[in-house]
Subunit: 224 residues, 2 copies
Amino acid sequence: MATRPQQSPRRTDALSKERIVEAAIEMLDAGGEKALTFRGLAARLATGSGAIYWHVANKDELLAAATDDVIARVVTDVAGDAEPRDAIRAMALGVFDAIDMHPWAGVQLSRRPWLVALPQLFEGFGSQLEALGVPERVLFDSTSALVGHVLGAAGQNAANGRLYAEGTDRAAVLGSVAEEWARLDPARFPFVHRVAAQLPEHDDREQFLTGVDLFVTGIVTTRA
Amino acid sequence: MATRPQQSPRRTDALSKERIVEAAIEMLDAGGEKALTFRGLAARLATGSGAIYWHVANKDELLAAATDDVIARVVTDVAGDAEPRDAIRAMALGVFDAIDMHPWAGVQLSRRPWLVALPQLFEGFGSQLEALGVPERVLFDSTSALVGHVLGAAGQNAANGRLYAEGTDRAAVLGSVAEEWARLDPARFPFVHRVAAQLPEHDDREQFLTGVDLFVTGIVTTRA
DNA sequence: ACCTGAACACCGTTCAAGT
DNA sequence: ACCTGAACACCGTTCAAGT
């Protein structure tokens, strides 16, 4: 008999890298990096733990694939014909929310940065900066810096979020940090003393957006 | 007999949290996060693995302490009477170099962000921004954003560095990434196509400094 | 108070054996 | 070609027992 063409392109019950990554993301979301084990994953997929290795090389690759998946989802649907600054804000917020919803991806980002989605980010931010009149000569550096800022700041935020996620609420955690800051030697930390009280008040999302705006303003102002 | 005063405040051969953290940093520097094990640490300190638990609660706390140590070293000796912008650059570079030399600390930073050293960073950056005339009303937000930018961007950089550290050299790795980028669909990625060639050329440290400058310019320009 | 090291309950990964 | 699951070589952490 002839070699059977792949008539049913994906049997629902067959294992595939996509199904594995999807299940991995669910486990990571539910319990963080430590909750993802090959044994647990195999059980969830009703297979043997070794079967997973047929589709992914190892845990690092699985984590990288999961991170890429989560970021790529966001990057694909970037708004088309908005004002450049708004488009930048929208894309940045997409990354922010993705990492906020999947904090483990933020950690992964600082381990293996070369996302498959990186070209999309470069394309999106770079073309908008160009539309803002940033000259060719500094376009690459400006875009790199902006991409780095967005990924970095979003990752930092997710790290903060991890703190309140574990039981205690945000206000309580930040409140006690503020108290610690207020107890520091006022002679050595005059500035920290003055601003400590503002710590529990601020809105993380708002502050992230402010940061992006500041950065874009810096780029636009610096061009010459 | 009366309770003996602690006459020799630290016996050279006694275990202490400092000695443990110091040894942990050496192991992390030598082989990354996976190279740090309690068994290896115990062997290096010529003790039992359980002894370490008398001084640190668990591996997470040990990693946090090691990270704090590495960042705190840098933050302590910030220049005193430089120009505000230069002082900011110097402090930012200190963080950059610390994370560049200890990439595992960058990963840790995105896991537990509330460094003991954080007040120092806030104090340093905040007071310099104040000296630049940033008004009180936006001082806290601006400082938070700057600290976040520095930690985030430095972490991103360390993540990149990890790639070339493992055998292959920087130019080769970035060169092949640039080739991949050049193979992307030019219709969908016109910008990426144009700048791909610049990828292997750029200086990471320089680009980080540029980013900090852009950010400060953004803050100073935005104040109103 | 501090240290020892065996024991416990896990891991990621491999691989002969199956279909 | 793809899956199974026992086996291997590790882990972090605990804890009775020592000094």
